[in-house]
């Protein structure tokens, strides 16, 4: 195919992608831009050119091992609803914009740690970007039939593509100074590319399986007779099993910690609930991508069996070999889109890291703190733009000057191993509050050095054909120091071997240092917030503990330098409104300090934000116990506030009900009085009837008022109980006297057979009030025929139980507790309103509780209600 045609296609394709990004940026509120599908698809930036070509290459040479790279994510992603949600919450709450920010903030805005993480990421990812450029260049050469790669840079198409990508990333990646803002243009473009690469890969897979061959069975049959087929397709015993396990673990870590994955999953997340789509849709995407890999690999092995062909290029060579140039072009474009997604997102993520965690905190803080806001935001953006260009160009020259003739997969995996060194600090910090900054640094450095020793040095020796005995005999000829068989461990392949040792030492060092040396109060403060994120998320600014002296004026000055007058003013207004603080306040509190740090974090990274704010703030050390106490107090204050509000609401409801209950008798009184007043011809009987009602209703009002006052006195403890030793039997008999006549009238039997006499200390008037109340309820509800009310006492250990029982219908189960509420009127009442105020049981409960007793209702068998209260026997 002619180079011009391919270049033209590339340019058209890039134009489309640019346009989509531009459109999405303009319509950033559109539903097409903000939905869980775009989000999920953007995560597929995980599938790079490596997936496109490398998986096939690996499958062709080592069988099913390629699956481990996808198996890890597929296993771990369903846990994201919990794990990733936590990470996202913390990141959003603290305006975190990169992985380095996340780790450095967790360990107390540690500037060095942030820089270290940045360096590790750059070292891991730049070669990985080179790899993508290499893939573009090689496939370009294959499809245009160039066999010699361009000699001068200016003749190299890949160079121009790299520059275009840098422009794309720099333009759409730095629309906002605040890097924790979402980049909707880029993400939408990436999502589109994810669709393109998957569709094209499925097309070629389908083509190979069903067009070049007669379906999967046909390929299998032909491939299985090839030499080496058997060994390729098995896991290879225990050794192989370990390798599989470790590779899956490695990819589990990578799917979270690769800078580009952190960028798309955490920073670009618009809503937490999108995760619910991701947990099934993303694994499905990965599965789909892998359906045809093995068939393309086998197909390639069959067709090219006696030729020297790079297995990494099977995907492209198969259609070319069959003279299907159009299909080859599709494959090229698919691989191209996979490569450029990775390059763009990675360079964006790395550039933000470089600027916020390395360049600004170490180089530009002084300058920033002197210049004006517009200059500063421009400088910040420029630092990022230049970083993006530098990263891509360095990656380009890296690919140009080193012979990267290793298979795609192996270099990709090395990146994974390097990135995995961040795992102990990251996950440890997320779940273990003891993990300290020093431990994180030592762990990462140790792990990295071991990776260099066991993987990078041998690889460089190998690929640059340096003659030395280092690999075969170990350092200084010491056997146990052989880089591929450290301490004599022969179980693993080089990558898993390096991963195993580096991570093992990393974890050991991280744990030991953490346990042996406590971090500073600042670290422990953040540790608490990260580990217990749900507890403190609600507190937001309040969760941060800080003691010291600061003035609003100074902090405002710092903010203005970065955000400008208007944004600072707006942000502070919002802050004052949120916490209901007077705008004229001069002394800043912990909340303002933390709020300001967060505001700056998005623009210049957490470490710089901390340094800048600290420069205008006089800070004091506080001990861990103080930190924890203050955190707990804030939490408690929040809770008690809630309680107060709830109590306020209850009080309002109570007042409403009281008003309603008072108005009812007054309505009767007023209406009847008005009638009497206006109507002179009213007959005597009616007049008497009306006047009696007026008297009754007036009594009802005063009873109600007395009860309410009573209840209030008891509830607030204003009334002292008149405690004396009394005979419970006497009190019961006294209480029952007024009911005897009523019992005779209604034909209700009073059963007193089960009363034992005990001497108990209580306020006799009050207890009598309770018993009368229970009795009047019992008389009201007892059976109309053969009614019976029974009072019994029962001494049980250190308390006496007094029960009043009727043989009526009993109480509905859902009402057993509610009847003690104020103004609760049973649903079961007869049509005639009871004489009670609706407060009787509420008052009884209050009385019993102030005697340290309990009162409850239950249904007795076969029917009837039993109300029981207890009095402790040894009170005085």
């Amino acid at each position: 195919m002619s180079s011009f045609l391919v270049i033209a296609v590339i340019l058209v394709y890039l134009a489309v992608i640019f346009y989509v990004a531009y459109w999405a940026e303009k319509n950033s509120k559109s539903r097409w831009v903000n939905n869980p599908y775009i989000y999920t698809l953007s995560l597929a930036v995980y599938c790079t050119a490596w997936t496109y070509y490398g998986s096939v290459g690996l499958a062709a040479t080592s069988g099913l091992k390629f699956l481990t790279i996808y198996l890890g994510p597929i296993i771990i992603i369903p846990t994201w609803v919990i794990l990733m949600r936590k990470i996202i919450r913390i990141s959003k709450g603290n305006k975190i914009s990169t992985l380095a920010d996340f780790i450095s903030l967790r360990y107390g805005n540690d500037r060095f740690l942030g820089a270290l993480v940045t360096l590790i990421c750059v070292l891991a990812i730049v070669p990985y970007i080179s790899l993508q450029l290499k893939a573009i260049s090689e496939t370009f050469n294959v499809i245009t039939n160039h066999h010699i790669s361009a000699i001068s840079i200016l003749d190299d198409t890949t160079f121009y593509i790299a520059i275009l990508l840098a422009i794309f990333a720099a333009f759409f990646g730095t629309q906002h100074t605040d890097a924790s803002e979402r980049h909707k243009g880029i993400i939408t473009a990436i999502a589109l590319e994810s669709v393109i690469k998957l569709v094209f890969f499925l097309v070629i897979g389908f083509y190979v399986t069903f067009y070049l061959f007669n379906g999967p069975t046909d390929i299998y049959n032909q491939a299985s007779v090839l030499p080496n087929f058997k060994t390729q397709q098995t896991i290879d015993g225990l050794n192989g099993g370990f390798n599989w396990f470790l590779l899956s673990l490695l990819s589990m870590i990578a799917i979270v910690l690769l800078p580009r994955q952190f960028q798309v999953t955490v920073i670009e997340n618009e809503r937490e609930k999108y995760l619910k789509k991701v947990i099934w849709l993303f694994p499905l995407y990965l599965l789909l991508f892998n359906v045809f890999v093995i068939f393309i690999a086998w197909g390639g092995n069959i067709i090219f069996q006696n030729q020297q062909v790079d297995a990494d290029l099977f995907t492209l060579l198969l259609p070319l070999n069959n003279n299907n140039e159009f299909l080859a072009l599709l494959v090229f474009l698919g691989g191209f889109s996979a490569a450029i997604s990775m390059v763009v997102i990675s360079s964006l993520a790395l550039a933000t890291m470089l600027s916020n965690n390395l360049i600004i905190p170490y180089g530009f803080l002084k300058r920033f703190s002197k210049s004006e806001s517009e200059e500063n935001t421009e400088s910040i953006k420029n630092i990022r733009r230049i970083s993006i260009f530098l990263l891509i160009i360095i990656a380009y020259f890296f690919y140009k000057s080193f012979t990267l003739d290793r298979p795609l997969v192996s270099i990709g995996l090395i990146s994974f191993v390097v990135i995995a060194q961040l795992a102990p600090a990251f996950f440890g910090g997320l779940f273990w509050r003891r993990g300290s900054s020093k431990a994180a640094k030592y762990g990462i450095i140790t792990g990295f050095l071991i990776t260099v020793y066991t993987l990078l040095i041998p690889l460089i020796i190998d690929s640059q054909s340096i003659v030395t005995s280092f690999v075969d005999e170990g350092l200084f000829g010491i056997n146990i120091l052989k880089p591929y068989e450290l301490f004599g461990l022969q179980l693993f392949e080089p990558v898993t071997h390096a991963f195993f040792w580096s991570l093992l030492f990393n974890v050991i060092i991280y744990s030991l240092v953490s346990v042996n040396k406590l971090g500073s109060y600042r670290e422990r403060n953040f540790a608490e917030m990260f580990v217990d994120s749900t507890k403190y998320a609600a507190l937001q600014e309040g969760a941060y503990v800080w003691k010291g002296e600061a003035y609003v004026r100074d902090i405002r000055k710092v903010l203005t330098r970065f955000l400008g007058e208007n944004r600072t003013e707006r942000a502070l207004n919002l802050f004052y409104m949120k916490y209901d603080i007077d705008k004229k306040t001069q002394v800043a509190d912990a909340r303002l300090v933390n709020f300001s740090e967060k505001l700056l974090t998005g623009s210049i990274g957490s470490a710089s934000a901390r340094i800048l704010i600290a420069s205008v703030v006089k800070e004091e050390e506080i001990s861990l116990t103080e930190v924890l106490n203050i955190l707990d107090e804030t939490q408690k204050a929040k809770e008690s506030n809630k309680e107060l509000k709830e109590r306020d609401k209850q009080k309002d409801e109570f007042l409403d009900t009281v008003a309603h209950e008072l108005k009812t008798p007054i309505t009767s009184i007023r209406a009847l009085s008005e009638i009497l007043l206006a109507d002179d011809e009213i007959d005597n009987t009616t007049k008497k009837k009306f006047l009696t009602s007026i008297v009754n209703e007036s009594e009802r009002v005063s009873r109600l008022i007395n009860n309410i006052l009573d209840l209030e006195k008891l509830a607030t403890g204003k009334e002292k109980l008149d405690l004396n030793e009394n005979s419970i039997k006497n009190t019961i008999l006294k209480s029952i006297d007024p009911f005897r006549q009523l019992a005779v009238n209604k034909g209700i039997k009073i059963n007193l057979n089960e009363i034992n006499d005990v001497e108990v200390v209580y306020d006799e008037d009050r207890i009598q009030q309770v018993i009368v109340n229970l009795l009047s309820n019992a008389f009201k509800f007892s059976n109309e025929e053969n009614g019976e009310v029974k009072i019994s006492t029962y001494v049980n250990q250190n308390k006496v139980e007094i029960s009043v029982e009727d043989n009526g219908k009993g109480i509905e189960n859902d009402e057993l507790l509610a009847i003690f509420n104020k103004f609760y009127q049973s649903k079961n009442q007869t049509l005639l309103k009871p004489i009670g105020s609706g407060l009787g049981l509420a008052i009884s409960k209050q009385i019993i509780e102030s005697h340290n007793g309990k009162i409850w209702a239950e249904n007795s068998i076969p029917h009837g209600a039993r109300l029981t209260f207890t009095l402790p026997l040894n009170t005085k």
Binding site: T664, T667, K833
Partner: protein, 122 residues
């Protein structure tokens, strides 16, 4: 003779209302809760209903709802007569389709005037 239905669970309020409207030459029906009200309405359609809200079992809102959903009954005038007199209560009552909302305690003359006005309105 116009028919009026009084729905309230307070015997003394019922007693006063009964006297007032008999005096004004109404045929008076009495219900002491929502269920009874519905029973009466189904047998004998009144011109106007004075309806309390807070009643046991079936409350005033439910009665009104029942009426508004019936083709034969939805033309009956309804006045809510309730001790609930917060602005939100009144608004809710009117929104549900009551013609008037009078709070308790009420002035007798005023109540009679409102009832008559409502009945004269077409």
């Amino acid at each position: 003779m116009k028919k009026i239905l009084i729905v309230d669970d307070e015997p003394n309020i019922v007693m006063s209302l009964e006297y007032i409207f008999k005096k004004e030459d109404f045929e008076v029906f009495i219900a002491r809760d929502g269920a009874e009200a519905i029973e009466i309405v189904e047998n004998n359609i009144p011109d106007i209903i004075l309806l309390d809200i807070m009643m046991p079992n079936v409350d005033g809102y439910q009665v009104l709802n029942y009426l508004k959903n019936s083709e034969t009954l939805n033309k009956i005038k309804v006045i809510f007569l309730s001790a609930k007199n917060k602005a939100t209560d009144i608004e809710l009552g009117l929104q549900l389709g009551a013609d008037k909302y009078i709070s308790k305690p009420f002035a007798v003359k005023n109540l009679v005037k409102e009832v008559k006005e409502l009945l004269n309105k077409k």
